[in-house]
């Protein structure tokens, strides 16, 4: 590998809001280089600058602006590693087609998260679940594979819970205050959000209940599935007029009943595989306990760890469940594009991609596509 960005990657759903976040997250990435952009028929054939209605606060990277957008279909031009930022309405079939054709699909969509043989991974929390890939490829006979990351609010909650696993997590009651960027583009109308809050986000409460348990679950001995954690999670989800950053108020019942100090210490000391492997976009400290009595706050703390760290504050006793705190995660970085990219880094560094590359080489040689 002679290039400074040795691994070309493709991007499905490149023009949408999450797609744009992938473009930003991959800009200047030391391992990956965007080499292929796929989107709907409407966008295909136009340059990215023409096709994407750019709504990010940072400018469009020049490297992608002139690239011609391709149809979101399997193509020999598309690199082996593919990020998927597609809408759930279309993502399922397309992602399977790409995996079947030998691609590693790192998906931000919800479609396959709960499939028994699909890893749902936060690299700091359950990196070993990546092992499911082997089972998945065997089972489905795919040279490629699908890897997923959780929903944005689930990532924030689960990152904050992970350091508490040694204390035995039993029950979690969580209320979210979620930013509008989590709804995509155009997303929530301004006339619904200005000076208002909406106490409902479709499907979100279920995701928090279910995805959290899979993430905190145990990989079964044979590596053919995950035993969900026996944690009861009940959620209230709200949309509030913030731009970026999901705030999560959590009360937690822990078997060992640690003190707030113990909990804070566990959070501060917490490190995971990405930190051990020093993955390029891994934050040095994945969970950062902030000091201010009124922190974390979305606008002020969302950038911690370049958007890849979760900040936690107000760790204190809960008269009802034992412990309570507030956590904040950047929903479009740690909670979306950054999550998939970190999963890809883990795949590469953990050696899970080797098999695929050889399969892929063979496949290319045989012209199977």
């Amino acid at each position: 590998m002679t290039s400074s960005h040795p691994i070309p990657v493709g991007l499905l759903g490149a023009t949408g809001m999450v797609g744009q976040q992938f473009v930003l997250q991959l800009e200047g990435h030391p391992w990956f280089r965007v080499a292929w952009l796929g989107a709907s028929e409407r966008s295909a054939g136009r340059t990215y600058a023409e096709a994407a209605r750019w709504v990010q606060d940072r400018p469009m990277p020049e490297g992608v602006a002139g690239m011609v957008v391709q149809p979101a279909t399997v193509s020999a031009d598309c690199p082996e590693v593919v990020f998927s930022a597609m809408d759930a309405s279309a993502a399922g079939g397309i992602e399977r087609a790409f995996a079947r054709a030998g691609h590693f699909v790192l998906s931000n969509s919800r479609n396959h998260r709960l499939d028994a043989d699909v890893p749902l991974v936060i690299p700091e929390v359950n990196p070993d679940h990546m092992e499911l890939i082997k089972h998945q490829r065997r089972e489905r006979g795919w040279p490629g594979a699908i890897v997923t990351n959780p929903n944005c609010s689930t990532i924030t909650l689960t990152m904050a819970l992970a350091p508490l696993r040694p204390f035995g997590i039993r029950r979690v009651l969580v209320t979210t205050l979620q930013a509008v960027s989590g709804a995509g583009y155009p997303g929530v109308p301004a006339v619904d959000m200005l000076g208002n809050a909406v106490p409902f986000i479709g499907g979100e409460e279920d995701k928090l209940s279910v995805e959290t348990c899979k993430l905190l679950g145990e990989l079964r001995g044979g590596g053919d599935g995950v035993e969900p954690a026996a944690v009861t999670v009940s959620a209230h989800c709200n949309r509030v007029p913030t731009v970026d950053g999901h705030l999560v108020c959590a009360s937690v019942e822990l078997e060992a009943q640690p003190s707030p100090d113990d909990a804070r210490e566990a959070m501060t000391a917490f490190r995971g595989r990405p930190q051990e492997l020093v993955l390029p976009t891994a934050p040095g400290r994945p969970v950062q306990v902030v000091a201010g009595a009124d922190r974390p706050q979305p606008r002020r703390d969302v950038g911690a760890g370049r958007g890849m760290a979760v900040t936690v504050g107000r760790v204190r006793e809960c008269p009802l469940l034992g412990l309570k705190f507030v956590a904040l995660g950047h929903n479009t970085i740690r909670g979306a594009a950054g999550a998939s990219v970190l999963n890809a880094e883990l795949l590469v560094a953990g050696g899970w991609m080797i098999g695929a590359q050889s399969l892929h080489g063979a496949e290319n040689g045989e012209g199977q596509r």
Copy 2:
């Protein structure tokens, strides 16, 4: 009494934000008429229009604009019934002085809420606690009395809980999304709130835990105190960029484990003393279960019952505590000025003021002030 507004009332702390809300709430009131305005030395001697920096969305009523503001000290000119919108920093001593001088002080301040002999009342929830007045006057030897209403977020929560009392309330986990008007004026700086949320409001979580239990408690047989309800309330309080209306996400454990339908029915059917007595500012239905899947919303539902009703939505099962829902109350009407005014209406209609009036008459005759 020949006037259409027979009962003159005074207003302590008239120029501040809560004071302004009292002025609005009393405008055109069928029983009460603002006859005396008290405020700090700085304001005294100026007309209300000069002294008050008016920050309400409705214009200043003409009736008060020309009234001259008085010092907030006991005076023979001040009517018997006095509303207090004073800052907690000053309220305590002044309110006591007025009660000692024969006034009925209806206070929105926190200073005396937890005093054993001071009624903390929501008329729909615990009207019988008004009986404490007798004990208070006896104990303290006051011709007048102090009556308090709870903190704005507590009122919203407790109104929604009250209809569930027959099911046996055991534990409540509540997360609030509170509007900026709750912080008074100038209150929270815009630069802290635009596109932001602040997960902390000083003292608020304790108030929710403690005041709720007093409100739901039982008046002891002798009428000399209240036995707080054995309800555990744990709160997370957040300030969000809404103008009016505290949103409250509550999970509740109830002994009888009612279904969501049963809970909704109980809430809808709920009526209290103000509805029986048809008090002037009592809402016809104090708790209104709204239909929309994404309601209640502060900007859209805060006006229910002219700001005096609490709206409830999303009544559903909580996998952790049994039942969960969202409630919304107007923090500056039902949660502040309107609460005190309704307390005053209850006092009048319930006959608790009679004794005071005679005492007061005597006192005036003897020139004791």
Copy 3:
């Protein structure tokens, strides 16, 4: 006429945001009663409660909730008077079809505003332009007619300018700060507006330049057209994160160079035909000069005259053009639904509808529809 709401009216585009505002504006109207709702094929056949995604801050009136929505096509069931809240993309042809079939169409859409034979009217400003109806019906051979009201920001500006006509209006430089409700529903995405301002609104600046001149123009002797006023209007239009109320900063060059006091006096004294005729929704004072140094403000002053008055503040010298001030109008009431309803009231009270009624009667007799 025995009913308390003698005149049934239809509503085209009933389910959209402007349609909803018409429903609210017509609720409890003393002259008009919504009797027919037309909308797109997708909505037709469902009740209004089912078809409309209600996004107003006041609840849906019960009277319309159960009405079945009809297709937006000419029908014998549709009353003679029809309000049109249709999107400009569809409004043109449908409005013409209704006028051709004998209806008086009061349109809020831009399609026909600049047609030489179509009145563009603000009742306080140019009621005589209604005379164009006669010419229009003759020219086009229609038993009905189309009457339009201007764009929301133009109404606000022109109402504030109208009292200054006696001073000779020459040049106007106007910068608008427009509310998001002006963009309809879903309109502007929240992620574009929170903590942001957008210095562009498609087509708006041209409308301000052109519509203002037609409104301030003279009806030609023969009543067959309007001579636009020779006023140069240059506009900068901005979308800002306010919900309701367009704020307009205007600098004006006037031939007679009145002092700010003279201008204020002219504005305060200003009355028009709606005030003379005491039309039901006409504000008593159409232009209200507010006192506060920092007023008008959208959230605080938008309700003046129940949304039908324009408030003006900061009338002062402009070192460049002579006079400057700030004006505020409620964009969805005075600037949209309320504007059309007031036009209808003028039509009725001014006797312009008589001809149509007889024509319509004849037509009905002949079954021409």
Copy 4:
């Protein structure tokens, strides 16, 4: 100079909002190093971390957190170069005292901006006005001097106008949409700004009229004053609910009547002394013409040139004055702390500080302080 930050600087008014911005702007500066913090008596004696209520979106630099805040009085410990972020209420006398004691005071306060012998400078616009320092020191007999930068909205406007000087600027009509951070801390109450706009900012319109003319004026031959430019500026100033970034809608009358293309070209080509001298915080392109039809937008474009560039969009014909456009500047960087720091860089690079240094050396030797 052996250190990497050779020039120690002091900071007056260090704990306030503008002071905090200075701290951020100077963090990692290649020439300057914060060595002394001065603030009110209330803060003096405490560490900066204790004394400052930090309200920035980036964390407090560790370097200053532990520094002990000093009283804002002349002291031998204070370095020669001093930035002043003091409130206008206190700034005047203190700044003069420091200049009299030999300090170069780079002030963001308005107190001395219009003094005939005080330079009011934007380095790209009127660097030669720094010559006034010599006159000032001579006149006042000060070993030090006061240098000022303009008000935040004036900087934005004037930066955008400067490239148009060759066309002959005659008249400017400007309407601003200003962010809340411009009001300092606590500044504007949230309850006044959420979903609202305030069409008044005290003193701001005058500053735009007067400061712009001084900035665009000519240094008189003898260097003893500035002949203000004969430009008429009329301003409408509004506060809107944005956090950072003043948006400025300007219509301009130019003698040479350039086309929009010519104006855009002049803006794009514009460079000043800071660019020639490659000053550390100078943006490469001080005025950046942005492409999007709806740009610049505060939240999205405020960071251009790390907050030191002004972005301009929508350059088009104005039917009234000839040319119109929208400009955006970061009010707390380019419009405040960054402006003073760039002035200091110009002072150093332009050699204006040499005299002071020797004076200062002498003075130190003589222990005059």
